[in-house]
């Protein structure tokens, strides 16, 4: 169909791009702003901050979320912190260094201009949050405290104990509340977007389902912002909340928005392992644990079911220390995760056998407890140790913790230009839902930063570039495009209810998740991906002929909600595997076993793959079309990420 849409990256020196772009961007006079309606789907950090800020500027805003309150969006669960280039510690940080670290951390698969802008506005985010009353950790003198996080060599992470996400979201939610109270934002909780409405090729509305009553509703607007989070639940088991989904972005994709880099997913190394088949989600434990814990497995598979205390030092393999002597237990997320998987695939995992083998490695605090005393360790990690023992029933002060990697974040998302607009005019995408800033791997404490950067500071300046030439309020809910989209949604719901088969939605979700985890998880290869691509249409066909959804459409019906999400995940899984198959290199979270160095490290291929892979939907049961946006590096030199 079309050639690549312009990425709208401004020309000129890196440091001036955003300033120049803001200057050249369109303005809408304050009186006219009220005549525009903006639909914001999502109330996490990206959605709440965008909805609040746009309404402060004068736009009419409607905001939607599937939870019963905007405060419950999944951003609430983030633990570790948020980065900003404040250089309060005087340890050599700067906007440029944060930019550089993020580009390198992303394994050189993101746009320089976007990442630089992110680093640039990071400082404003902290100002804004503090003014709102976000209770960040402080030093005794009353100044803000920082810590080093995720292997960064400077201390630039701001945090609020282990619940930075909740505190930042409560800040954005309070800003949203102020606007709701003023009548400037209309909030629609327990409301799920099920389709995007296009009029003359522009995004002009959405179709939603009220999850309390089942009512299908039409909402018209002048622009649509998707702030709907990541698709990690395609794996079924992940650290995401149960309702996280790809539906909003996938529906938009099927209406024409290109999906970028779907194969880039992040696996977090320190999660609590699975304990059985009934497991519904995985729990993350802060990476900070790796500062004092040592990761090991037995050298001999025969020792795996022994009491760890009975395994002598010389029979233990401290594999991270062995493989990465300089970073040791602090090696980056993708690298540590893969090393744990290798050990378990090698038959040396510990803990219960789940499926075919043991999936767990020890994270051992014995040495730290011996060196610093139990009290010090309790002061540092007490809440995490408590959480661990609540879930596993084991006491980590006595027995080593067991950890295993789990799906945590998705770098891929809808393709957007520098204005955060997708390939559909008027449709903008913010936060984890877009593909924009993290390349092939995300650094710790940078997703919160990106969500708030997009919502508070980027979209308010860039949205007028789309809106200004559009006369406001052109499209009303009685437009025929709404009738058609509503009809599609109703028909799909009826199809779900009519199948009346034998299997629950969850059983399909588990099957899908396991397949994607095995074939498109921490390590991928051509053969496995091809198998998955063969299997996925079969799962899809069985779903549509054998799923069982009790209850009706006009009521609270969690099975119906899940069915819509799982059906979309199954379709999405195919594009994800196709993307992984077509990227014949290893980079960041995408590790193709065929492309590795002799000592097992990721082997990038910059000549051929330094591009954004953006997939265009071309019809049902037809392969999507790949578009490549070349990535140009004018400021940083591409090099091999080495953590040896």
């Amino acid at each position: 169909m079309s050639s690549f849409p312009d990425s709208k990256v401004p020309s000129g020196p890196l440091q001036d791009k955003w300033t120049q772009h803001k200057f050249k961007s369109a303005l809408i006079n304050p009186k006219n702003k009220r005549r525009y309606t903006v639909l914001v789907v999502g109330s996490g950090l990206a959605g709440s901050s965008a909805a609040a800020t746009l309404s402060e500027l004068g736009y009419k805003v409607k905001c939607f979320c599937y939870q019963d309150s905007p405060r419950r969006a999944h951003s609430i669960a983030a633990q570790g912190g948020i980065n900003a280039a404040k250089n309060y510690q005087n340890d050599g940080d700067s906007v440029y260094r944060l930019f550089y670290d993020t580009i390198k951390g992303g394994d050189y698969r993101s746009r320089e201009a976007n990442v630089y802008r992110l680093a640039e506005v990071s400082v404003n985010i902290i100002d804004q949050c503090v003014a709102q009353g976000v209770p960040f950790a402080r030093e005794y003198g009353g100044l803000l405290d920082n810590r080093s996080f995720g292997g960064a060599q400077v201390s630039r992470t701001f945090y609020a104990a282990g619940q930075t996400g909740q505190q930042l979201l409560l800040g954005a939610y309070s800003a949203l509340n102020k606007q709701i109270a003023a009548g400037a934002v209309k909030m629609y909780p327990r409301t799920e977007m099920l389709d995007l409405v296009l009029v003359d090729g522009h995004a002009k509305g959405i179709i939603t389902r009220n999850l309390s009553t089942g009512k299908i509703e039409r909402h018209a607007g002048d622009a649509v912002l998707l702030c709907t989070g990541g698709y990690g639940n395609v794996f079924f088991l992940s650290t995401n909340a149960m309702g996280c989904n790809v539906t909003a972005t996938w529906r938009a994709h099927k209406r024409g928005a290109w999906f970028a880099n779907p194969c880039y997913t992040q696996i977090h190394p320190t999660c609590i392992p699975r304990s059985g088949d009934y497991q519904s989600k995985l729990t993350l434990m802060s990476e900070s644990l790796r500062n004092d814990g040592r990761v090991w497995v037995p050298k001999n598979a025969a020792d795996c079911d022994k009491d760890p205390d009975s395994i002598p030092e010389e029979a233990r393999d401290y594999f991270l220390e062995r493989k990465y002597p300089s970073f040791g237990n602090l090696a980056p997320r993708d690298i540590s995760s893969r090393a744990a998987k290798e050990a378990c695939d090698d038959g040396r995992g510990v803990g219960p056998v789940v499926g075919s083998h043991r999936e767990g490695v020890y994270l051992d605090f014995a040495e730290s407890i011996r060196d610093f005393g139990e009290d010090t360790i309790r002061a540092r990690y007490g809440n995490l140790f408590d959480m661990y023992s609540r879930i596993t029933g084991e006491n980590p002060y006595r027995t080593p913790m067991r950890i295993y990697p789990a799906v945590h974040y998705t770098m891929g998302g809808l393709w957007v230009d520098y204005n955060l607009m997708s390939s559909i005019p008027g449709l903008h995408v913010l936060g984890e839902a877009n593909f924009s800033d993290h390349g092939a791997n995300r650094l710790g404490a940078s997703a919160l930063m990106q969500g708030l950067a997009d919502g508070y500071f980027v979209i308010p300046s860039t949205l007028p570039n789309y809106l200004a030439p559009q006369p406001p309020g052109q499209v009303k809910e009685n437009h025929e495009a709404f009738a058609a989209a509503e009809n599609d949604v109703r028909e799909r719901i009826n199809r779900f209810l009519k199948v009346n088969g034998k299997r629950s939605v969850d059983s399909f979700h588990r099957e899908l998740g396991l397949l994607i985890w095995n074939k498109c998880g921490m390590a991928r290869d051509r053969e496995g991906l091809q198998e998955a691509l063969k299997r996925l249409p079969e799962i899809r066909a069985e779903f549509w002929s054998n799923v069982r959804i009790p209850g009706g459409a006009d009521q609270v019906n969690p099975e119906l909600e899940k069915a819509g999400r799982v059906a979309d995940f199954i379709e999405f899984g195919e594009t994800m595997c196709l993307d992984a198959l077509s990227r014949e290199e290893s980079c960041g979270g995408h590790f193709r076993t065929e492309y590795q160095t002799p000592d097992g490290e990721a082997l990038r291929n910059d000549e051929q793959f330094a591009y954004v892979a953006a997939w265009e939907h071309t019809g049902e049961n037809v392969a999507p079309k790949l578009h490549q946006e070349p990535l140009n590096f004018e400021n940083v030199k591409l090099s091999v990420r080495s953590y040896k």
Binding site: Q67, S69, G243
Partner: protein, 255 residues
Amino acid sequence: MESKLNLTLKVWRQSDRQSQGRLVTYPAEGIPTSASFLEMLDIVNEGLISNGEEPIAFDHDCREGICGSCSLVINGVPHGPEKATTSCQLHMRSFRNGDTIYIEPFRARAFPVVKDLVVDRSAFDRIQQSGGFISVRTGSAVEANSILVAKDDADHAFRAATCIGCGACVAACKNASAMLFVAAKVSHLNILPQGQPEKDERTIRMVQQMDAEGFGGCTNQYECEAVCPKEISVDFIGRLNRDYAAAAAAETVTA
């Protein structure tokens, strides 16, 4: 070795707001002790679905104790028997083989049942909208470190701010009072220097909204603190009362 439990559940089933609800008995068999309470319900629901029955509806999302969605009264206690633990973080090893477990929604006049164990807690959002914010337009903030906050104050505000808005405090209170929640929300902002300019107005408005939503009065029973998964202290209620008295005396709000 992991053991399995056979249990009897007595679960509140109610089709919608208007309908009469009732307790229905379900067997829950072969439940692994390492499963979470919500995973136990997933297992039971899987069985109901395969019988063509409607599964038990309950609110949940993060399943790690932070979003505040889950809201079950378990054997008469909001969030069940473990201290400082949400329903989603409760694990089946807290129960014995053969136990009968009663599972009911968070009940209060201000929390109408939507379906089965799902209630409508939008009253909490409206209380927050009435004044739970500091008015600072995006872009108008001053440099972050120009606002000094003594560490003790920051920590104190943080402890109030850890409230997850679950509503267990209301469900535990015989008056269905929302005082602990409101006290936590008001105190978080009232303690901080940034919150001072709007302090009186915030306090009065949020208390007025709490009353308007139909929550009961606080008679210092402190059941709320006992069930609060985040261990919010009732000291914040004392603080709210003082802030309220001061604000009322100042009569800053004319409404």
